[in-house]
Symmetry: C2
Subunit: 304 residues, 2 copies
């Protein structure tokens, strides 16, 4: 009934002082404004302005609508500006989940870089161990997932980040310490230390032990990679970790690492986003930053 157009018209008439000039500013005919005023005055049942004076004179009702226009139009303009910024990717949302515990290592610096470059993007971080990432992406709970298990879906775009070898960390005193690689059967006597997630999401099981139908002697869980390393070093068990995640501990000589099987178990980490957002600038740039940071972390690691 009373629309923004009417407020804009009244505003223009006030600025212009006449229907003719206002119509020029609004790029419509004077007739359009005349009809518009007639309509709205009829609907509201009040006269809004006296067209016979120069400049035109607003009635009390007209003044009230002008006051309304002064309140509403700037809000609308600002709102549209904000939406435009969102549309152009100046601002937006990046809710990121990682399915990979050790990834924090290179993720943190990447996040720091990103936050500085895209301050308007709302950044949020969660672990994706308890839920399936693809539905969460499609649902809009997440905008990006880091995973080594890219579940194919037409609406999800997976982009490889880097490849790494999953290695077995053992104590330097372990009987396995001098081996080049281990076979699944070598673990029947060992305690396996893992992150506390379901078995199906642990590559050591899915890619190494289960195919050989081998079960480790025991399983122990911890969230923290350094704690895992300490337990391994203390001879309390063995752990399967990405090679880059343990490189600094190898350098200290605390532990040793072996390939899983003769050819090793290799994994690739992927970043997944909604396919429709493939061109969102800050997402593209985040992926690039993530690649750089993770590559930097890989430098000098054997086999990487």
């Amino acid at each position: 009934m009373l629309g923004l157009r009417h407020l804009e018209t009244l505003d223009a008439i006030r600025e212009a002082g006449s229907l003719v000039e206002a119509s020029e500013r609004l790029h419509v005919t004077q007739s359009a404004l005349s009809h518009q005023l007639r309509d709205i005055e009829g609907r509201l049942g009040v006269s809004l302005l006296n067209r016979r004076t120069r400049p035109v004179r607003f009635t009390v009702a007209g003044e009230r609508l002008l006051a309304l226009a002064d309140q509403v139009l700037p809000l609308m303009r600002q709102g549209l500006r904000d939406i435009r910024a969102l549309a152009e990717g100046q601002s937006g949302r990046l809710h990121l989940a990682i399915e990979c515990h050790a990834c924090f290592q290179w993720l943190m610096p990447a996040l720091d870089v990103f936050r500085e470059q895209w301050p308007q993007v709302e950044l949020d971080l969660s672990a994706a161990f308890a839920f399936a990432p693809v539905p969460a992406l499609l649902r809009g709970d997440l905008d990006m997932v880091v995973s080594s298990d890219p579940v194919e879906h037409e609406a999800v775009l997976w982009q490889p980040l880097f490849s790494h070898e999953l290695v077995l960390a053992v104590s330097r005193n372990s009987s396995l310490a001098e081996r080049e690689f281990v076979e699944p059967a070598d673990l029947v006597e060992e305690t396996l230390i893992t992150y506390p997630v379901e078995r199906d999401r642990l590559d050591i099981f899915t890619a190494f032990l289960q195919p050989a139908n081998i079960e480790p002697a025991a399983q122990r869980k911890t969230e923290l990679t350094p704690m895992m390393i300490q337990l391994v070093a203390a001879g309390r068990g063995v752990a399967a970790l990405p090679n880059w995640a343990i490189s600094e501990y190898l350098d200290h000589g605390l532990i040793r690492s072996l390939s899983l099987g003769e050819r090793g178990v290799w994994r690739t980490l992927y970043i997944g986003i909604r396919a429709e957002e493939a061109e969102v600038p800050y997402l593209k740039e985040f992926i690039q930053t993530a690649r750089q940071q993770s590559m930097a972390g890989l430098e000098g690691i054997r086999g990487a």
Copy 2:
């Protein structure tokens, strides 16, 4: 482009949780909302909400528009309420001008009554001696005029208030004091005391002296009716005034009053408003109040 309808739609969808229920609330089909969203998302270049969740989930852009709706819609609603009040005559404007100096006498109580009954009406008062009231009415400078000289105009509605006699106030010691009436020629030796306005607006000239081509010996001007009375009582001149304006002074015996000519000069006071506003409730009521107050002021006056 982005209209209030879109904001209302988004608001309804948020409240309802789904397009289907929102469409019911808005009394349109679900299809309409779907098209509407599609259009606006296309125009803005952003997705506003994810329809696949239950309830639907808004994107960052959608949330921004909802925030906009929360700001704008209440303002619009309040604005419309105010306009409705204006339209129904609950509130409005009454800029009143009087062409009649002595009228303040009964006008003041009328204004007091009115202010109490119509507190939302913006009341303003001015004297209409220096300008023509009809153009001012039509221009919107004024909303009501009290005048004894109703200039006919199709867009102006004049309503009679009351009639009174214009009488000549003279000193009780004047040589005219015992006369029933005066002739124009009787004033050639007198000083005429008037309000300080142009001659054409003084009935004593237009209706009495000028037709007889008579000029008083002198003219003296003052704004204040009581001062006029004092000057008359002191024998410094004579003054033409409405009978009701001097009734209390007659009672005190300070002065005497004579008719102007054998039949007297009678005037009628009119209230003029724009014809289009004839039905505005507070104007109608003001006129009624004015009539009552002026009638009350006339009570017990001879010849009234």
